[in-house]
Symmetry: C2
Subunit: 337 residues, 2 copies
């Protein structure tokens, strides 16, 4: 069974996306043929995951010609529209700047912009897919055999243009015929673990067991988990890792039970300008995410909520960082960036 | 503002309960005037929490006279009905056996059974209330001043006939005019933290902040939490503590950040017959609790679920155990039982 593909070109070169807000109940693909439709899909989290957002924006920019002449001016206006959807996503800005440069080069050479934009978007996607494959290969070598992998949140195919980052070693082992299974933290408040990780692994034929986040420590104590693998939103120069809230508690439990704790991420996630985790700003999100789920209230209205989106796992708790440039000890990770 | 009262006698000596399944959205009290109605309320978790279940069953048994003569035979039949509602609840069986003995004594003396049963049920309730008060006093002395307390699950007024166990020191400090606030883990899968703990504290005027379970480690790292207090379902002779799933991960995080980790429980929770935590059987519950959220599906149907209801925190991670007989080091707790 293939790994699900959250983005694609349609036969007419529009952008086809899997609407991730409907998962796991409904697998609905949307064909988007305007820049605004792609922007809306990114804004409303139909497309999510930092690498995938960059790819979707790049592909979306190629649609500029559907509403008028594809001038450099129109490309830059469309890029601003797409760039405003998720202002904090680094990959989004990086991909759009790359697209604008390519458009400017084509314009300077007197070439048609649209084929150049399509080539660049496809290149961005291809490079991301190759990055995932390399992480998968390095991670599979590191694990070296059958495995039960515990993960948190979704750093899988649904977050990238390929086989994911944290889940890439899982898919690589599965493809190599190893017996590999996953324990997925459900990952409150937004449940990316139960909704997305469990769905994509099931679709790919990888056995998956969902647990509530508070069960991870007990599961690690059981002794059947080979290793933990999580993604990363930013890695500081000293190897401290910012990732989805809940990761740090898993790292503490892994250390308590001697289970290796791996971080898998593109080398571009390493930020040499951030010396350590204390300098990573942590976004606080809306109270309703914790007070309820999908519009169903749990906490009383009088209660306060604290809802940090990320936490920082200190380098000392990280066994190794798996990147597309190889496997690094946390203290050496600046060399990967 | 008073601490909510989840059980009471009605003016006509029926049993009034707060329907906890409707919290926090709806505060509805039900007047139950048959044994079967009380049994149904226990079975469907309208009444929950080990001490409160015992009290509710004892009070429910007094209703036996409403459907026929209150013979010893009728009392024993009603006791079997009530005892079958939650077969694993120790307090339930203990309370019903005590009620049957009182009925037998009254029958032997030729007395009317119903006044005897009412007196015994009231005594069970009064003793539980006094037990909560003592835990509150010992815990408040231990903490000694203003406090931010992190707790997991609900071991509060809604679980007992008084001011709770884990929350008793909070209410005692609040009553004494101390500035006390609570950080409540939402406690997946059944959300007793956000639904019940946050509700009862809000009603009593104690500020409460709800967090997802995966946020506890980050919150303990922040440095503003004075101590963790949790309840216990069973305490082994060596001081290992079984409590709601997720407690163990909180204990690991508290240790990592030097935050005191207290367990508050009636001395009857200490089981001298259980030498250590490894001998405590852990109930596994239904998959839907984790796969969904208040009846709304989150995980795909293909995913497996692991849903242990409790975990074991080793004595080495417990700073002290607060009981109605005083505060004990975990290794000395057998002396409390």
């Amino acid at each position: 069974m293939p790994v699900p593909r959250p983005i694609d070109w349609t036969p007419t070169r529009a952008v086809r996306i899997l609407d991730q807000t409907l998962l796991p109940d409904t697998e609905r693909y949307l064909d988007l043929d305007t820049v605004d439709a792609v922007a809306e899909a990114i804004r409303t989290l139909r497309v999510r995951g930092a690498p995938l957002i960059g790819i979707a924006a790049a592909m979306g920019l190629t649609l500029v010609s559907r509403e008028g002449p594809a001038t450099l001016e129109a490309v830059c206006a469309a890029s601003r529209t797409l760039g405003a959807t998720r202002p904090t996503a680094v990959n989004l800005r990086w991909a759009l700047e790359r697209m604008e440069r390519r458009a400017a080069d084509a314009a300077a050479a007197g070439d048609d912009l649209v084929p150049a934009l399509r080539a660049e978007a496809t290149a961005i996607w291809d490079e991301d897919r190759a990055m995932c494959e390399r992480i998968g290969r390095f991670g599979a070598e590191l694990i070296g055999g059958d495995a039960l992998v515990l993960t948190h949140c979704n750093a899988g195919a649904l977050a990238t243009g390929g086989i994911g980052t944290a889940l890439a070693p899982v898919y690589a082992l599965h493809d190599a015929g190893r017996r590999v299974a996953v324990v997925a933290d459900e990952t409150r408040p937004l449940l990316q673990g139960s909704r997305l990780t469990a769905w994509e692994l099931s679709r790919a034929g990888v056995p998956v067991t969902v647990i509530a986040d508070g069960m991870a420590a007990s599961r690690l104590r059981l002794g059947d988990v080979t290793c933990v693998i999580v993604g990363a939103d930013r890695i500081a120069a000293n190897g401290d890792v910012a990732n989805k809230i809940g990761t740090y508690g898993v790292a503490l439990a892994a250390r308590a039970h001697g289970v290796p704790f791996y971080v898998a991420a593109p080398s571009s996630t390493v930020d040499p300008a951030t010396p350590d985790g204390a300098r990573i700003p942590i976004e606080e999100r809306a109270a309703w995410e914790v007070a309820g789920w999908r519009g169903h209230q749990a906490a009383p209205a009088e209660a306060q909520v604290w809802n940090p989106a990320f936490d920082v796992t200190p380098a000392a708790l990280v066994t190794a960082i798996i990147t597309d440039r190889g496997v690094f000890a946390p203290r050496d990770v600046a060399g990967a960036g």
